[in-house]
Every structure is written in structure tokens, then in C-alpha cells.
Amino acid sequence: MRHRNRMLAAGVFLAPALAMIAVFTVIPFVQGILLSFQSWDGVSPDTPFVGLDNFRWVMDDAEFWGSMKNAVVFGAVGLVVANAVSMVMALAVHHARRGSAFFRTVYYLPGVFSTVVVGVMFSWFLDPKIGIVNQALKTLGLDGLTHNWLGDPKTAVIAVAAVFVWYHWGFGFILFLAGRQDVPGELYEAASLDGARSWAQFRYVTWPGMSHVTGIVSVLTLLSGLQIFGTVQVLTNGGPAGHTSVPTLHIYQQAFQFNEYGRAAAMSVIFGACLVALACVQLWVSRRLGGSTNSRTEKGR
């Protein structure tokens, strides 16, 4: 009876949150899947079912699959480069004797801005005519290095990826810093006594000790990289000539520019399924790596 009462009380407290989740997450999610089997222009009350037509159309859409390749590039950049940069910064700040509070603030600052602000800001920085990057190069007498960073297909993807890394490193940095501070100091003392140098200490103590944080940060930055939208839209809008197009931008165009909501929903379903699958793989790999390294650490203890 008491258990039932407690359950009821819990239910009462949970009801508002569950209702909000249902209204703003679950129902739209289901509606989105439903919409992928319908044809809709975004306004008309008529939403006829078209079976698998939208999915067939998406399968034949070379641009969508081309944009998926870019998503993989940005995902890989997020997974490898952004994580590596933020981890190095976290370790550096952790060992800093002075100014660690200042660096913590400065490194985390980019993540505070909205993606649109970051996009606009960097579109000014990278402007071929009046951009601060080219102006700085000219000032330094490096006129030969000035470049149309966002207009040249060879540098556009790199430029967008660099902006993405700058924007996301603060998030990873904070988590890595917290993770590093959780690694017990005794392990380093023991490793030093065993003759382990910096790299060995990182390889056998720091890395395994931070494996759980690394797993979470990796999944989140991978998904952020795959789902990049605002930065690309503001900086290049998929240009030049589609070289920086990403699935989210393509989905946005189908829905809000072409009024093809059914096709956009079908793309979202396919893209969402790919993200879920990738996230599962990433978590599994992280667990495997974390598990093996943890067991190694345990043995070391």
C-alpha cells in the first residue's frame, strides 16, 4: 500500500515533465515519422499518404548522399580534432601553475555564443576583402597567403571545420578537465616510482582514467559534427557550388525553401537512423576501450 502511494506521488510529480516531453518531443517525433509517408506543402490541410515515394526520392537524391559525405568529414573532425584539441588544452590547464582560472574562462568562452553569432563573426573574419584574417596576413607582409577562404572549394570545408572546432572545444575542455581532476594522484606517484615518463603516464594512467568522460564527449562531439547546421548556413549556405553542403541544410532547404515537407521528413528519418546507429557503435567502442583499459588499470592497482 505504501509502495503504491509512493508510486502515485512520484507519478504526480513526474506528470508535468512527462506531459511536456510527450507534447514537445514524443508527439513531434511520431508525427515526423508519419509525415515521411505523406506529401505536404507546409500549409495545406491535405496531407495525402504517398507510401514509400518520399524514401524512393531520397534514395535517388545524389545531393543528399553527397552532403552525407560532408557530414562524415565534419563528424570525424569533431571526433578526432575537436576532442584532441580540447583534451590537450584541458591537460595543459590542469598542469598550469598560474592563470588556470583565466584560461578556463577563455577556453570555454566560444561555446557561450550562438551558432549564428559565430557564423556571422567568422564570415567577417574570413571575408576575402575586409576580413581580419587576410588583413592580418597583409600587415605581416604575407600577401601571398591571403586567400578567399570560404569561396575556394579547397579551403571552404577546412575553414568551416576550423570554426566548428573553435566553437566546440570549450565544451570538451570543461568535461576533460573535470575528468582529469578525478584521476587519483596516487596513481601518478606509483607510475613515477615504476619509472613511467610523461607519455607512459598519459597512456596508462590519464587516458584510462578519463575513459568514461572521453566516451561521452566523443559521442556528443561526433553527433554535433554530424548535425552541424547553423555555422554552415551562415558561413557558406552549402557553397561554393555545394562543397560544404550537409544533410541538415539539405533537409532545411527541402522543407522551408522547396515546401517539400514529406521529403524532408523522409531525409530526417534516414539521417536520424544513421545518427542513432553511429552513436550506438561509438558507445560500444568506448565501452570496449574503457572496459579494457579499466581492467588494465585495475590490474595495475
Binding site: V23, S123, K129, L150, Q233, G239, P240
Partner: protein, 443 residues
């Protein structure tokens, strides 16, 4: 659809004793009712019976519109509320309003592709019969023609006219007079042909200035402008509706313009800017930093110049020069710009229509033209109200294309991408024309 049986118990005061189950039911019912109320299915207008709501898309014309609305209220006693949504949020907010069946009494009318879903769903009054009389005679014929949905239009809209406009825009070239003079050129004498213009741009380059720039997002309009050298409006319409293919000699010659500009080395930075603010960046380069001698833009650019660089007025405009081997008289892309549609389901539909009629009257258009640099759609507006920077385009405002259907968005996107690819030497003209055929077929 599951029925909600908790609605009756939703008022705790009605029950003498409320069990936990009843309480939970009440909470659930209340939430459901709130949610359903939020998705109301009213008949549709945001305004009260005493107030007309105008959802306005334009930032540049907001002040002038507000002034005119206040003047109308003083004259008639009818209160007009201008809801200045702005260009970024306008379509999103309009769509939300249509889905919640809570549409404004009047809303800005934009391009036919964006507005077609609203017209098809019955959210705009058909003004065809009303424009047949004296009201219609005040407009330039091109404005009426451009805002007409013909039978068998590609958007699937019932034939008719669903919007009234107070601006006759056109796309053309804007040149920095000082830079042209410095290169030994006369900015007041527009080039006779495209080859002459490219030669002028070469001279500009030799004088150390950046010759020409235009945004990727406007490349479709430049191409459509230039295509009028080789196609009649009917032939352009045939291509845009998919009845004629893109792979034809006329389109090859049209796209050759991009190749010629590229090979002459006169495109600033050697590429077309893209991004969400590509055209604002081009305008900034022309009006604010004055780092480029010529741009391709719409007549609304003069309003941008007045707002962001009021001290810079030494520029001229003219239509895209004719092709050396053109077979037709070239015609600008233009037709209709700022205007309004009336919500026929509104309680205030008749009053809203009266306000729109008043707004498009030559007297009000004259006031608009004084506040905002534009080419009015009313024939009776005196030409002295047209800014000097627009006279070059205004002189040819009768030579605008009157194509019954516009390119669909998928083709526009493919064309913009293709234009960039041609300038970057990544794709040939024929490959881009193939891409356009594919986009047309898959749309």
C-alpha cells in the same frame, strides 16, 4: 483518435471528494485541454473586430508603413496594427499562423513560390474582379500581369490575382561613378552591349579596382535577365514549366556570360559569394567599403544604401546590357515586390481590403516613394520622386519580363550552385544545363 474521458472531472471544485486517481485525471485532462487550446481551430484572424492586423515582412518599409497606418486611422478611425515580423521570421510566423488558423487580416505578399501554398489553402482574397475597374487602372500593366496566376500555372494555384503591390522592382547593374570616371569611363552612358561592358570592367581592373561582384543567390536572376536576349517570355515560361528543356542553344549562350566574365578575370575574388548573407556582403563591398566598382542587385539596394551608407550617393544604375548576338529585346527581371494579401476568412476582410486599396493609391505610393527609395507600381506617381540612382533602371521599367511562371526553387538552387561551379571552372555550361534538367524533372 482516443477520446478524453477526464474532461468532465477537470474541475476539482465540482467534486465533493477528489480521489488521487481523480486528481491525476484532472491534471492530465487540464494538460490535454491546454494543449488542444493551444492548437485552436478558429476561423482565423489575429485582429479584434476593432483592429486590423498587418503582418509585415519588410524592415526597410516598416517606418513608412507605420506612418501611413497612423494616417489611415486618423482619416477613417479604423485602427491598424502593423506587426513588424521582419524578413528572417516572416514565412515561419506566417506558416505557424496558418497552421493554428490564426492568420492576420493582411500580410505581406512575397514571391509567387513562397505564397502559393497560402493562396491554395484559401488564405488570400481573389482580387481579380476588384482590379478590373478603376483600382486596377492605377497600376502599371506589368504589375498586374506579374501578380496574376494564369490558368495551368506550375504552382497549382486557382487562376486569379491574390495580392496588390505598391512597388515595381527590377534587377540591374549598379556602378560606382567615381571609379568609372577614374578609369576614363562615362558612368552616365550605359554600355550598349555586354562585350562593351566587359571591356569597361577590364579597364576598371587595370585602374587597380575590383570590377564586378554578385551574390550566388542572385545568379539565377542575372541569368534570367540575360536569357531574355535569346528567348521570348513564352519560351522562358516553357522552360520554367518543364515543357522545354534547358539544353538548348539559347541557354548555352546565356550561361556563356558567366564563362566570359570569368575568363575576362573581372569577377571580384574569382568566385561568387555564398552563405546566408551573401548579397548583404556584396552590398557592403559596394556601398560601405566601396571596394568593388559594379554589382548586380535589385532596386531595393538603394534603400539599403540610404540606411547603411547615407553619405554615398555617387552611383548609377542601368539594366543588364544586351547580348551582342541577341535575337530579342532584353528585358529585366522585375514585376512585383512589396505588396499585401488580404485574408478572406477574417472578420475584418472588407475593412482590410479598403486599407490595402488605400495603401496602393497613387497618393500613398508617392508618400512611400519619398520615404523609401523604390519604383512605385502606380503609373500616376511623379517621376521626380524616383531617386537619381534608380533613374537608369526606371527608364526601362516597362521592359520587364512577364513570364507566367517562375523557376521552381529546386531549379533555382541547382542554377545557383551551377553558376558557382562554372565560375570556379568545376563544371562546364553543358554539365550545368544537364543538372538543371535533372532538377526540373525531380522537382
Amino acid at each position: 483518435m482516443r477520446r478524453d474521458h477526464t474532461a468532465e472531472a477537470a474541475s476539482p471544485a465540482a467534486a465533493t471528494f477528489l480521489s488521487r486517481r481523480g486528481f491525476l485525471g484532472a491534471v492530465g485532462g487540464g494538460l490535454a485541454a491546454t494543449t488542444l487550446a493551444a492548437c485552436g481551430s478558429g476561423g482565423g484572424s489575429t485582429g479584434s473586430s476593432s483592429e486590423i492586423v498587418f503582418m509585415n515582412q519588410s524592415r526597410g518599409q516598416a517606418a513608412a508603413l507605420g506612418q501611413l497606418a497612423r494616417k489611415y486611422t486618423q482619416q477613417t478611425g479604423v485602427k491598424i496594427k502593423i506587426d513588424d515580423v521582419g524578413p528572417a521570421d516572416f514565412l515561419t510566423k506566417l506558416q505557424s499562423s496558418s497552421q493554428s488558423r490564426n492568420m492576420p487580416d493582411i500580410y505581406s505578399a512575397m514571391d509567387s513560390f513562397s505564397m502559393a501554398p497560402y493562396y491554395k489553402a484559401g488564405w488570400a482574397m481573389d482580387l481579380t474582379d476588384r482590379l478590373k475597374g478603376a483600382w486596377g487602372d492605377t497600376f502599371r500593366p506589368a504589375t498586374i500581369k506579374a501578380s496574376t496566376f494564369e490558368a495551368d500555372n506550375s504552382q497549382g494555384v486557382k487562376p486569379g490575382i491574390y495580392s496588390a503591390h505598391w512597388e515595381s522592382p527590377a534587377m540591374g547593374l549598379f556602378v560606382n561613378a567615381a571609379m568609372f570616371k577614374a578609369a576614363g569611363l562615362d558612368p552616365d552612358r550605359p554600355p550598349a552591349t555586354m562585350s562593351e561592358f566587359i571591356e569597361q570592367l577590364r579597364k576598371i581592373k587595370k585602374s587597380g579596382k575590383d570590377p564586378i561582384w554578385f551574390a550566388a543567390s542572385l545568379s539565377n536572376q542575372l541569368i534570367q535577365s540575360y536569357a531574355s536576349n535569346y528567348f521570348t517570355d513564352e519560351e522562358l515560361n516553357a522552360t520554367f514549366t518543364g515543357k522545354a528543356g534547358w539544353k538548348s542553344e539559347g541557354w548555352r549562350k546565356t550561361f556563356q556570360l558567366l564563362v566570359d566574365l570569368r575568363d575576362a578575370g573581372v569577377i571580384s575574388t574569382g568566385s561568387l559569394p555564398s552563405g546566408n548573407s551573401d548579397n548583404p556582403n556584396v552590398e557592403k563591398a559596394f556601398f560601405n567599403t566601396r571596394s568593388v566598382a559594379a554589382i548586380y542587385d535589385g532596386t531595393s539596394a538603394v534603400g539599403v544604401a540610404r540606411a547603411t551608407a547615407p553619405d554615398f550617393t555617387d552611383f548609377r544604375s542601368f539594366p543588364v546590357p544586351k547580348a551582342d548576338d541577341g535575337t530579342q529585346t532584353p528585358r529585366m527581371v522585375g514585376g512585383t515586390a512589396k505588396g499585401a494579401a488580404v485574408n478572406p476568412r477574417s472578420k475584418n476582410a472588407d475593412e482590410a481590403l479598403k486599407f490595402v486599396r488605400w495603401l496602393t493609391d497613387p497618393a500613398q505610393q508617392t508618400a512611400f516613394a519619398k520615404e523609401v527609395p523604390l519604383i512605385p507600381s502606380a503609373q500616376a506617381v511623379p517621376t521626380e520622386n524616383i531617386p537619381r540612382q534608380l533613374t537608369g533602371i526606371a527608364a526601362k521599367i516597362s521592359d520587364v519580363q512577364l513570364v507566367a511562371n517562375q523557376m521552381n526553387q529546386q531549379v533555382i538552387t541547382a542554377l545557383q550552385k551551377g553558376a558557382e561551379a562554372i565560375v570556379l571552372k568545376e563544371r562546364s555550361v553543358d554539365e550545368v544545363l544537364g543538372d538543371l534538367d535533372t532538377a526540373q524533372r525531380r522537382a
